[in-house]
Subunit: 150 residues, 2 copies
């Protein structure tokens, strides 16, 4: 089932890709059901907050009509940035499933350890490496394509 849900997050990442946005996707699951979806759309919306995770969390809160998502899980194609890690903690999410870990060129790459501290201290469970190659390769391809444009 983990792979099934991560594939749904990956489909969100593909939507971002098609829009020339950095291809990251996220979904929120409650009781086995997908209640929130999101893909990165900061360029499209001209909004620095609209990362995949944020869009998915807002969508889930809207659908469930509550902001405390303590009984929900989130699937993310890439390890979250500091903002999104904090947003997941604030939302009281129970467990985080991550596709690809950070590689390089990420604004907060050097803070990986801090973020894991955030998760640990806030008692959020987390699991890395679900469909890792797929989630990672869409990003690699995206940046390769972008570089070739210039």
């Amino acid at each position: 089932m983990k792979e099934y849900y991560m594939m749904e997050a990956y489909k969100e990442a593909r939507k971002a890709y098609a829009l020339k946005e950095t291809p990251i996707g996220a979904i929120v699951v409650f009781n086995g059901e997908i209640v929130g979806r999101g893909y990165n759309q900061i360029e499209l919306t001209n909004d620095p907050i609209n990362h995949a995770e944020i869009v998915a969390l807002k969508n889930a809160a809207k659908n469930l009509k509550r902001w405390r998502l303590y009984d929900c899980e989130i699937y993310i194609t890439m390890e979250p940035c500091i903002m999104c890690a904090g947003a997941i903690v604030n939302s009281r999410i129970k467990k985080i499933y991550i596709g690809a870990g950070h590689k390089k060129n990420h604004i907060v790459n050097k803070h990986n350890e801090y973020k894991l501290d955030i998760y640990r201290d806030s008692k959020i469970e987390y699991e890395f490496g679900i469909l890792e190659e797929l989630c990672s390769s869409i990003l690699t391809n995206f940046f390769k394509e972008r570089r070739n444009l210039y």
Copy 2:
């Protein structure tokens, strides 16, 4: 001028107070002009993302029609949580002015040092203690009132 802008952020915090939301306010300044305003409204909107800083950043990006706010400053009545600290970094904000520092009972209180690392590494300038007592006392009063209800 710092005090003038912080007072405007404080006015936002008062709006939150009136709505029984944790009273935190923020404003974004570009070229001397207030281009973004926000107060904490997570209960009102049932949305875990709608902290004062996030609302102000989204508002500024919308008004300026761009998400990179590298020439803007943000005034916040309270030291940001991890999510908002990350959002400020992601938005490329130039300088952060903070009213009150964290005291206790904050979800990420123990991460104060990490957050300062975020600021330092991302080269964001920051300054603490603008109208500190005012920004701090509205929070103290709020929590005192809430406790007396039960």
